[in-house]
C-alpha cells in the first residue's frame, strides 16, 4: 500500500494534467490502404491478357483522338508509347506497295525505304530539336512525330479508294486536295505538340524539318501509281 502510495505520488503531477476538451483526440489506427507499386506489379501480372491488351489499345486510341483534335495538351507527351507510330508506319508502307510493278528499279518506294524514311527522318528531326536546345525528351518527340502521321495514312487509304475508280485528272485533283489537307493537318498537329518545348527564337528552325518530313511523305502518297 505504501509503495502504491509512493508510486501514485510520483504520478501525482500527471493526474493534474487534464486534456482540455477542445482538443479532441482522434485518429485512425487501421492500416493505410496499400498503394505501393510493388503490389501494382503483381496485380497487373494476375489480370487477364484481355485487360492488358485493352488498356494499351485504349492508350493508343486516346492518342489518336488527341491527334485528330490537336490542342495543346500534355497527355500525348507524358505517356509516350511507340505502338501507334509502328502501326501507322507498317500500314503506310504496306499501302504504298503494289505500284508500278513492271519497272522494277524505277518504281515506287519499297517497304524498307518507307520504313527507313519514317523512322530515320523522325530520329534526325528529334536530334535536331534536341541540339537546338529543345526540352522535349527523345522518345516523346519520336512518339509525337509518329502519331501525327495518322492524317497522312488516312489520306493514303482515301487515295487508294479513289484510284480504284480510275486514274484520270479528276481523281488526281481529288487526291491532291486530300493529300494537301492531311499534310497541313499533320504539320499543324505536330507543331501544336512540339512548339512549347522549343526556345523562342528558334521555333522556325525546328518546325521546318517537320514540314519537310511530312512533305516528303505526302509526295510519296500523291505519286503512288497503281499497277495497270
Amino acid at each position: 500500500m505504501a509503495e502504491a502510495d509512493g508510486s501514485s505520488r510520483a504520478f501525482l503531477g500527471l493526474s493534474d494534467v487534464s486534456i482540455s476538451a477542445d482538443i479532441p483526440v482522434e485518429g485512425d489506427i487501421s492500416m493505410p490502404p496499400t498503394s505501393s507499386s510493388k503490389d501494382d506489379g503483381f496485380s497487373t501480372l494476375d489480370e487477364p491478357v484481355k485487360d492488358t491488351v485493352l488498356r494499351d489499345l485504349k492508350a493508343v486510341g486516346n492518342k489518336f483522338v488527341h491527334v485528330l483534335y490537336p490542342k495543346k495538351s500534355k497527355a500525348l507527351l507524358r505517356d509516350w508509347d511507340l505502338w501507334g507510330p509502328l502501326l501507322l508506319c507498317v500500314t503506310l508502307a504496306l499501302l504504298l506497295q503494289g505500284g508500278s510493278v513492271d519497272s522494277k528499279d524505277d518504281g515506287g518506294p519499297q517497304f524498307a525505304e518507307v520504313f527507313v524514311i519514317i523512322w530515320f527522318g523522325s530520329l534526325i528531326i528529334t536530334l535536331n530539336s534536341k541540339l537546338l536546345g529543345g526540352t522535349i525528351s527523345f522518345f516523346q518527340s519520336l512518339c509525337v512525330l509518329g502519331y501525327c502521321i495518322m492524317p497522312l495514312t488516312v489520306a493514303m487509304v482515301v487515295c487508294r479508294i479513289v484510284l480504284l475508280g480510275g486514274s484520270g485528272t479528276v481523281s488526281f485533283v481529288v487526291r491532291l486536295v486530300v493529300v494537301c489537307a492531311s499534310f497541313g493537318w499533320s504539320t499543324f498537329a505536330s507543331t501544336a505538340f512540339l512548339a512549347d518545348s522549343q526556345p523562342q527564337n528558334r521555333k522556325a528552325l525546328v518546325v521546318y524539318p517537320v514540314f519537310l518530313f511530312y512533305f516528303v511523305i505526302g509526295w510519296m502518297i500523291l505519286t503512288f501509281a497503281p499497277a495497270q
Binding site: G99, S100, G107, G108, N128, L131, R202, A204, L205, A225
Partner: protein, 300 residues
C-alpha cells in the same frame, strides 16, 4: 576519440559527423578534417569560399568558355547548333549575294559555324531535285500516250549521295590543302573545317529555287537559270576563299580557284543532265517510226 556526452544534449553538427565517422571504423579525425571533408562532400553550398576550395575545374567549365567535349559526345555537336532563326536567314541571303570585298565566312560565320544550315539545305536540295526531276519528266511526257508515270524513287539515293559528298568531301579536300599550304606559306587568313563546310553548305542554297525553275520545260530558261545559279554561288565561293590563298604562289592560287569553279560547274551541269534530261517523247517516237518505215520497205 570517443566523446562521452549526454545523449539528450544537443550536439553540434560537426561533432555528430565525427561520431558517425567513428562508428564506421574510420580513422580518427578532428574538427578541421571534418570541415575539409564536409566541404569536399558538399560543393553546392552557397558560401563562396567553399566553392573556390571545392572544384576548381568545375568553375573553369562554368566560366562561359566553350567546353572541350570529346567528339563522340552530344555536347560537342550542340555548339554547332547555336544559331537563331534570323542568323540562318541572314546567312542564306548572304550566300547568294556576292559583294566585292565582303567575305561570307568573315561576315556571317566567323567564330560560330553551324551545322544546321549545311545539313538541312542539303536535305532540302536532295528532295527538291528528286521531286522536281520527277515533275519535269512528267510534264515533258504529258501528251504522249505510251508514257507510264513512275515515281523514280531510286533517284533520291543517288541525289543524296552526290550532294552530301559534294558538301562534305570537297570542303575536306580544300581544308586539307589549305592546311598543307599553311605549313609552307604563312597565310593571314585561316579557316577551320567547320567554317568551310558552312560556306559550301550555304552556297548550295541558290540551287533550290533554280531546281524549282527547272520544272518548266523550256530549254532556254533552264540554261539561263543554271548559268545564273553557277555565277552567284561560284562568285560567293571565290570571294570567300580568295583571302585564304592569295598570299600563296600565283600558280597555286589559280589552280585552287579553278578547282572550286570546275567542281561547282560539274555539279550544276551534272544535276541538269541527269535529273532533267530534256529529250522529248516526240523525238523518240519519230525515231521509232523511221526505224519501222525502213524495216517495212524491204518487204514491199
Amino acid at each position: 576519440m570517443a566523446n562521452t556526452k549526454d545523449p539528450f544534449e544537443f550536439q553540434e553538427f560537426e561533432e555528430a559527423e565525427s561520431l558517425l565517422e567513428e562508428t564506421r571504423d574510420a580513422t580518427t579525425i578532428n574538427i578541421d578534417d571534418v570541415n575539409e571533408f564536409r566541404k569536399q562532400r558538399r560543393p553546392g553550398r552557397d558560401e563562396v569560399e567553399e566553392d573556390l576550395l571545392a572544384n576548381d575545374d568545375k568553375a573553369e567549365l562554368l566560366s562561359g568558355q566553350k567546353k572541350n567535349a570529346p567528339f563522340w559526345s552530344f555536347d560537342y555537336y550542340q555548339k554547332f547548333f547555336d544559331v537563331d532563326t534570323y542568323q540562318v536567314r541572314s546567312r542564306i541571303i548572304g550566300s547568294v549575294l556576292p559583294w566585292r570585298g565582303k567575305n561570307f565566312i568573315d561576315l556571317y560565320v566567323r567564330r560560330n559555324p553551324d551545322l544546321y544550315g549545311p545539313f538541312w539545305i542539303c536535305a532540302t536540295l536532295v528532295f527538291a531535285i528528286a521531286i522536281c526531276g520527277n515533275l519535269s519528266k512528267f510534264l515533258v511526257n504529258l501528251g504522249s500516250p505510251n508514257y507510264k508515270y513512275t515515281a523514280e524513287f531510286g533517284k533520291v539515293t543517288i541525289a543524296a549521295t552526290v550532294i552530301y559528298s559534294y558538301a562534305w568531301l570537297v570542303p575536306l579536300a580544300l581544308w586539307g590543302f589549305l592546311l598543307w599550304r599553311n605549313s609552307k606559306v604563312m597565310n593571314l587568313v585561316t579557316y577551320s573545317f567547320m567554317e568551310i563546310v558552312c560556306a559550301y553548305g550555304y552556297s548550295l542554297s541558290i540551287y533550290i529555287p533554280a531546281v524549282v525553275l527547272w520544272i518548266i520545260p523550256s530549254e532556254g530558261l533552264r540554261w539561263f537559270s543554271v548559268v545564273l545559279a553557277l555565277c552567284l554561288s561560284g562568285s560567293v565561293l571565290l570571294l570567300t576563299f580568295w583571302p585564304a590563298i592569295k598570299d600563296d604562289h600565283i600558280r597555286v592560287s589559280i589552280a585552287f580557284m579553278s578547282a572550286i569553279v570546275v567542281l561547282n560547274v560539274l555539279l550544276a551541269v551534272g544535276f541538269k543532265a541527269y535529273f532533267f534530261s530534256s529529250e522529248s517523247p516526240h523525238q523518240q517516237t519519230n525515231n521509232s517510226s523511221v526505224v519501222t518505215l525502213v524495216q517495212s520497205k524491204p518487204h514491199t
